[in-house]
Each structure stands twice: as structure tokens, then as C-alpha cells.
Amino acid sequence: MDRREFFKKSILTGVAAGAAMTFGDFRKVFAGKIPPPGAPGPFDLVAVKDGEPVQMFDKAIESLGGMKNFVKQGQTVVVKPNIGWDTSPERGANTNPALVKRIIEQCFSAGAKTVYVFDNTCDNWNKCYENSGIQKAVKDAGGKIVPANSESNFQQVDVKSGKKLKNAKVHELILSSDVFINVPVLKCHSSSVITACMKNHMGIVWDRGFWHRNNLNQCIADFAGYRKPDLNVVDAYRVMTKRGPRGVSEEDVVLMKSLILSKDIVAADAAAAKLFGTEPSEVPYIKLAHEAGVGTMDLTKLSINRIKM
């Protein structure tokens, strides 16, 4: 933790504590009567189908009470898409840039101070940022696209609940930002069956090689419990169904036109697996994270809003 972050954190803790004291009772007073605008909706998970990414996201976030439920005035937000590969948006290897742009815009409408976007990419980061279309999308929306190619921006943290993964070097923006919105793209994956929310966390740590060496699925599940995103948005508009996670051509992609939103990272992955035609329990890390209590993969126990556009 550097000095800047220390200041940030101490100030934020103070603000948060103050806010809790101020608004804590206020909420309770009105809770039973009128749901205040932007109060958490009753849904644990929202799934949308057959729309364009932007419209689907608008609908979905609305049903969760709007972005104001997740981003408060003056907060810093980090939006973490998958920008792992130097491929065009049509190849479906990276998160849809239009979706990323919309999320950032919504964050700003909700009063966000700064919205950061980064990924520790696999291919050359410059080319990934550019060719995925995400760099432009972020800039257009007024967000900050941040390189994550330097180890100096990653800080060692302990993963207390980890079985295999005891510590990791995490990007400082994940540690210092108030809100963390995880925006993976749903793809098939040669190592882990599918990739969505939890697997997307491999782009906020520095040393992925350690994970691969030390039981990849367990490490993914371990880290999912470290810092749960405040919101998970699964882009299942173009879904890579084979030769993932990088893909070779557009033939690998199926137009699924779907979107999943949930605060529960395990539930979001479980729903994504279902969309993909796979049982969540067949995806090892989803099962492990479920068993560790990071979230639930049992979708029957959740209140789900299903929206068809």
C-alpha cells in the first residue's frame, strides 16, 4: 500500500463510516413503507435476451434499481472487462466495447468521480486495448483506460480464505477504488470449460503462471472470495463456443444476444454456464467456489428476473 492509497483509504473509510451513521437509520425508517428510488431490487440475478448490448444493459440495471444502487456520488469505479486478446470485437474474445461504454456512461450518470478500465492482457496490451475497440469506447465515455503491464502497479495481498492461493499481487486500482464492476465475456475455455466472471479475475492479478502451476480451478475459486465485485455483468452477446478462449476466426462465435447481471459472482457464472449449455457443477471452479460459500450456483434458490426484449 503506497501513501496515496493510504490517504485514499483512510479518507474513504471515514466517509463510509459517516455515511453509514447518517443514512443507516434513515433507510430503516422508510424501508417498510416506500422503497426509496434506487433501493436494491428484490432480484438476485437478472438475465436479458434478444437485444443489443446497450439496451439489454439498460433494462437489466433498471430492474436492479439503477446504477445508483451500485455507484454513489463521488465514488471511484473500476470496470474490468476482458481485453485479453488482440482480436476484433466480432471475434468475441473480448468484452463487447459498446457494453463497456454504456456501463461507464451509467456510472457517470450515477455520479461516479472516475471510472478506470484495465486488464492484464495475454497478448500485447497495446494491441489488445486498441483492436478490441475498448480503448476507444472508454475514452469516448470519459473513462480512464489504464495500462496494467507493469508489475509496479500490482500489490501483494493475502488471500485469507484461499486453500491453494494464499496471496496474490493485485492491481492497485482494485484495492483503491470504491466500486468494482466485473464485465467478462462468456466464452468456452480450453483450461476451465468456460470463462466468465471468476475467470476474468485472472486479469487483475500479476502472476497467472502460479495459478496454472498450482491447481488452476482451486486458485480461481480461492481468489473469487478475496474481493467480490459489487456487480457482475456477463456479456453473452457474441459467445465463443469453440477454440476458446482466444478463438481463431469468427466461425467460433455464436450470436446469443444475452446478458446476465448479478451481485453474486458464483450465481452469475452458474447462469452463464447454463446459457452455454453446461451444468454449473461441471465447471470445476464454480463448484469449488459454491462449496466454499463464495456464492451460490443453485439458481433455483435465487430470485431471477428474466427479460426478453
Binding site: 496515496r4 438475465a47 435476451k49 488482440d86 472516475t114 495475454c122 497478448d123 500485447n124 497495446n126 494491441k127 480512464k144 483506460i145 489504464v146 495500462p147 503491464n149 507493469s150 508489475e151 509496479s152 502497479n153 475455455h189 480450453s190 483450461s191 476451465s192 497467472r208 503462471g209 502460479f210 496454472h212 502451476r213 498450482n214 491447481n215 488452476l216 480451478n217 482451486q218 459467445v239 463456443t241 469453440k242 477454440r243 478462449p245 482466444r246 481463431v248 476466426s249 466461425e251 455464436v254 450470436l255 446469443m256 444476444k257 444475452s258 452458474a270 447462469a271 447454463k274 446459457l275 452455454f276 449449455g277 470445476p284 439458481l299 431471477i304 428474466r306
Partner: protein, 547 residues
């Protein structure tokens, strides 16, 4: 004095060449278009020559223009185009600022050393060895200094700036990793830099007139120059100011003679002369049978005087000279090609012993045709190392054998080759890496992946991994069922392009469980398989939610 303005022009031109060249070698943003880089390096003598004997086209005839220029005005290359020459001038100039400059005395030319080196270089070249070129070519040496020493410094400065800006929440400047995978090339550059600083401070352009093969060759040509710098016996007052300024030490004031073969055409003497005692003059006709002397029949040319119409004749005869040279060069070419296979095969196979997980010979970059083509063309200027966006291209020491010292290789422990990038092939000034298109590259196989099953994580730890397959851009590395739910890599060498993504991503330590074995001759890979629909049914979007 009338020609004193030439010095200013020389300084400006040389600085433009120098600054842009340095920038090209330290830049990591790819700011300059590759066409511009090509134009900038077009005149670099040895790279251009090597490219020419391969391509035989005007597009690579930069060295030829240099020769023509030399035939007219002497070693202009040395004072303007050559980055090492300007680098030395900068050190000399700096030393003047800080201390009284050592005067470089007129000495006898070191012709023994000069011609031995040049002869050895040509001889080695005939045997397709670039040993002396890699060690002595001034452009390539400067390149090694810029790329090996200046570039990391530049990166460090950039990274400090990046860090400072980040404190103010700005990510406008990104940091660039500074990693050195092989120290000998860096140490060599450092050694050479120290040497050249010492030489330029105490001995002026000693390197250029003793060791530099290009200097020697152009020196030979400048003996026959149409215009030469000479002293005027009548105007000269023997004040010695010209000799005091001369960094080549080629002015003999006592005899009032200039050794034009050692003159680097810096024009400092023009500026220094208070009279009109030194200047260019037509010398071609008087040359044969004459020592370089100052006969009063020869007249100094000043700007006001029109060129003699007789010059044209001399141009013709110069061209003739060059034609004979061309056929000789063709002879060299055939000799080189003929002996290539035998000698370089020796070079290649003598160096490395077979070792598991390491390619027997280094993998050469896409566009380099074969290891023989590459090693017989690359002068190790390290421009590709500087330009490579991923930095998979790294200098080697003796991995190509002693003859190919410092030539870069694809270092898959450093990075892997970006599937859509052809940058190195665009910037290479020597033709070692020939230009290729992205389309060509997508099926160009520079090596093939080899899987070492017994050290793979999946086998040793019985856990999922698949990092190699993840990174593979053609899915030549595919995950296939192993034990239970576990999947294990399988390589389809036919569609592998040898980009090294699998090797780079493989997490096993210390040896990688998958690596790229070089193709001695680059081959054509098959296009990736169109469709691999496995046992599970094709995933299709459903009408309703599956949950």
C-alpha cells in the same frame, strides 16, 4: 572561408540523421511510419549493400549513391549519414566544452591495419560470414549502442515519468518493462561505447580511419574523388588552424597536403581557415600519376565559380568504374551463395548440443526465410529488437555461432510473436528479414511446437492447466481428454506457426513443457482447421432461458 557554410550544412544534416536514427532505436510507440524508417536507413552503407546483393534492385541501392557521392566529394557518408560518426563528433564536441581539446596530430595512415581489416571482412563475406561486419560496421555498432544502452535508459526515464504522472491520477504515459535477457550484447555495447568515447576525445576519428571497414572502403574511393579538399600554397599562411580543427588528423601543414582518403568531409577546416587556404578543388584529371599535391594550376572552387564543364567527362568515367565493380559484386554474390550452405551449416550445428526443451538452433523471425539466409544477412544492428512491439526479438551472444554474434532471435522466454504483426520485416534494413504481409505471416511456419508430456503440469500435478492452448492463435495446441475430466495439450504441427505463445505461457519451471523447435527453412503451415465440433452438440442460442 567561402565554403565555411558547408560546415553548418554538414552539422544540420548530420544531426537530423542522427536524431531521427536515435529516435527510431529508442522509440517504443511505433510513432514513425516504417516507410520513413526505410527511407532514413536507405543510405546506410553495409545494410544497403547486403540488401542489394540479394535484391539487385534500385530499392536497395543506397550504398551505390554513397559511392557516387564519395566519387564526387569524398566521405560525406562519414560526416553526415553514419550515426557512429556523428556520435563521435558529439563526444569530441563535448570534450571541447569541458577541457582544452587534444589536438589530433597528423600521422601516417594505418594502411596496414585498414586494408587487412577490409580484406578480412570481404573474405569472410565471401564465405557468408558476417563476423567482421557484426563487430565493425559503424551503423550496426551505433545501433547496438542505441538499442542496448540508450533504449533501456530511455525506458527508465519514461517509467519514472509514468510513475510520477500516476501520482496525479494520470495514465497518459505508460511504463515499458526493461528486461535484459542476454547480458553479453549489452556489455559489448558498453565496452564499445567506452572505447569510442575515449577514442573520440583523444584520437578524433581514429576509429573511422583505422578500424572502420566502411571508412576504409570509402577512403579508397575518395582517392579518386572529382573534388578534393586541398590546400592552396599561395593563399595558405601555414598558420595550422585547419590542422588544429581536423578531427581526422589528415592535414599535413608542413607539406601543405591533405590525405583525402582519411578526410571525413566534416568541413571544420573550411571554417577554421582565416584565408582561403583550404577548399574543394577539381582533382580528378590531375590525380593519375600524381601524389596529392597542390599544383598552382589547380584552382580552388568557391561558390561563386561555376563548375568546370569537364566535370561531366569525369562523371562518365566514374560510372564506368562502377560498372566493373558491379560485375565483381555479382561474382561475390554467386560465391557467397555457393558457399553459404556448407559453412553456415557448420556454424549452426557446431554451437549447441541437443537439450530437452530448447530449440537446437535459435528460431529466426518470420520473413527471414532460413537460418542461413538470416545469419548471412543480419548485421546485428538491433533495429528489429527496438521496433518489436512485444520484445520477443532479443539479441543473442554466440547462439548462432561466432560468425553470427549478437544477431537477434525469437526469445520465447521473453515474450511471444504477435500473430498479426510484421514490424520486424518492415524495418530490417539489410534484408535479413524480408518484408512479408500479415496474410503471408498467418501461415508462415518458423518453427513447430514440441510437447514434453512428462513435465506438463497436467501429468505431474494432475490439475487443469492449458495455458499453452489458451494462448495459441491457430489452436495448433489443443486440449484433448486425458484422465477423468482432465485435459492435456496435443500439438498439430501442420497448423503451428511457431509463434511461441505456448512456450511463453507454459508455467512449468525451470523447463517449459512445450517449446518451439526452429525450422531451419521456414515453411508454410496449413490454415487452421475450419471446424472442430467435439462430442458435445453444437451450442445454439435457445428461445428461452435455460434457468
Amino acid at each position: 572561408m567561402q565554403l565555411a557554410f558547408l560546415k553548418k550544412i554538414r552539422v544540420v544534416v548530420s544531426l537530423v540523421f542522427f536524431i531521427v536514427t536515435v529516435f527510431v532505436f529508442v522509440d517504443f510507440t511505433g510513432l514513425l511510419a516504417t516507410r520513413l524508417i526505410g527511407a532514413l536507413l536507405y543510405l546506410q552503407f553495409i545494410p544497403s549493400f547486403l540488401k542489394f546483393i540479394e535484391a539487385l534492385s534500385i530499392a536497395a541501392a543506397g550504398f551505390f549513391f554513397i559511392l557516387i557521392l564519395t566519387i564526387f566529394f569524398g566521405r560525406i557518408y562519414c560526416s553526415t549519414v553514419c550515426p557512429l560518426g556523428t556520435l563521435q563528433d558529439i563526444f569530441t564536441w563535448l570534450s571541447k566544452k569541458f577541457r582544452k581539446r587534444t589536438r589530433i596530430k597528423f600521422t601516417k595512415p594505418q594502411n596496414g591495419i585498414r586494408y587487412t581489416i577490409l580484406g578480412a571482412l570481404v573474405l569472410a563475406l565471401c564465405f557468408s560470414s558476417l563476423f567482421f561486419v557484426n563487430l565493425l560496421d559503424p551503423y550496426s555498432l551505433a545501433g547496438k549502442v542505441f538499442s542496448g544502452l540508450l533504449r533501456p535508459m530511455f525506458y527508465l526515464g519514461n517509467n519514472i515519468l509514468s510513475r510520477i504522472l500516476q501520482l496525479f491520477d494520470s495514465y497518459a504515459v505508460y511504463s515499458v518493462p526493461v528486461k535484459i535477457f542476454s547480458w553479453p550484447p549489452v556489455l559489448f555495447s558498453l565496452f564499445f561505447l567506452v572505447l569510442i568515447i575515449f577514442l573520440s576525445v583523444y584520437k578524433g576519428r581514429w576509429y573511422c580511419n583505422t578500424l572502420c571497414p566502411v571508412g576504409t572502403l570509402l577512403g579508397i574511393f575518395s582517392r579518386f574523388s572529382v573534388f578534393k579538399i586541398r590546400m592552396d600554397e599561395t593563399a595558405c599562411t601555414s598558420c595550422g588552424l585547419c590542422a588544429k580543427e581536423c578531427k581526422a588528423g589528415c592535414i599535413d601543414v608542413k607539406e601543405k597536403k591533405v590525405d583525402f582518403s582519411r578526410c571525413v568531409a566534416c568541413f571544420d577546416c573550411f571554417k577554421a581557415c582565416p584565408e582561403e587556404g583550404i577548399g574543394y578543388r577539381i582533382a580528378f584529371f590531375k590525380h593519375k600519376g600524381h601524389k596529392e599535391s597542390t599544383k598552382d594550376t589547380e584552382r580552388l572552387i568557391t561558390t561563386s565559380q561555376p563548375l568546370s564543364p569537364l566535370c561531366n567527362l569525369s562523371v562518365l568515367s566514374v560510372k564506368k568504374d562502377n560498372n566493373t565493380n558491379l560485375s565483381r559484386r555479382n561474382f561475390f554474390k554467386t560465391t557467397i551463395l555457393g558457399t553459404t550452405a556448407i559453412l553456415s551449416a557448420k556454424t549452426v550445428f557446431s554451437g549447441n548440443k541437443a537439450q530437452q526443451g530448447i530449440s537446437a538452433v535459435p528460431v529466426t523471425p518470420p520473413g527471414s526465410v532460413s537460418i542461413w539466409h538470416y545469419t548471412s544477412k543480419c548485421t546485428a544492428c538491433h533495429l528489429c529488437v527496438s521496433a518489436c512491439p512485444t520484445k520477443v526479438l532479443q539479441p543473442t551472444f554466440a547462439e548462432y555461432g561466432w560468425s553470427g554474434m549478437f544477431q537477434p532471435k525469437m526469445n520465447y522466454h521473453a515474450e511471444y510473436c504477435n500473430f498479426e504483426c510484421v514490424k520486424c520485416s518492415e524495418v530490417c534494413p539489410t534484408g535479413a528479414i524480408l518484408p512479408i504481409t500479415k496474410e503471408q505471416k498467418s501461415t508462415l511456419q518458423i518453427g513447430t511446437s514440441k510437447f514434453i508430456k512428462n513435465i506438463c503440469i497436467v501429468v505431474t500435478k494432475h490439475t487443469a492447466c492449458g495455458a499453452c492452448s489458451e494462448h495459441c492463435p491457430t489452436k495448433a495446441v489443443e486440449m484433448v481428454p486425458y484422465l477423468g475430466d482432465l485435459m492435456i495439450p496435443r500439438v498439430d504441427e501442420k497448423i503451428c506457426v511457431g509463434c511461441g505463445a505456448c512456450e511463453y505461457a507454459c508455467p512449468t519451471k525451470p523447463d517449459k513443457a512445450i517449446y518451439v523447435e526452429a525450422n531451419l527453412y521456414h515453411r508454410k503451415a496449413l490454415k487452421p482447421k475450419k471446424k472442430v465440433e467435439d462430442k458435445k452438440k453444437a451450442i445454439k442460442p435457445t428461445d428461452d432461458f435455460p434457468f
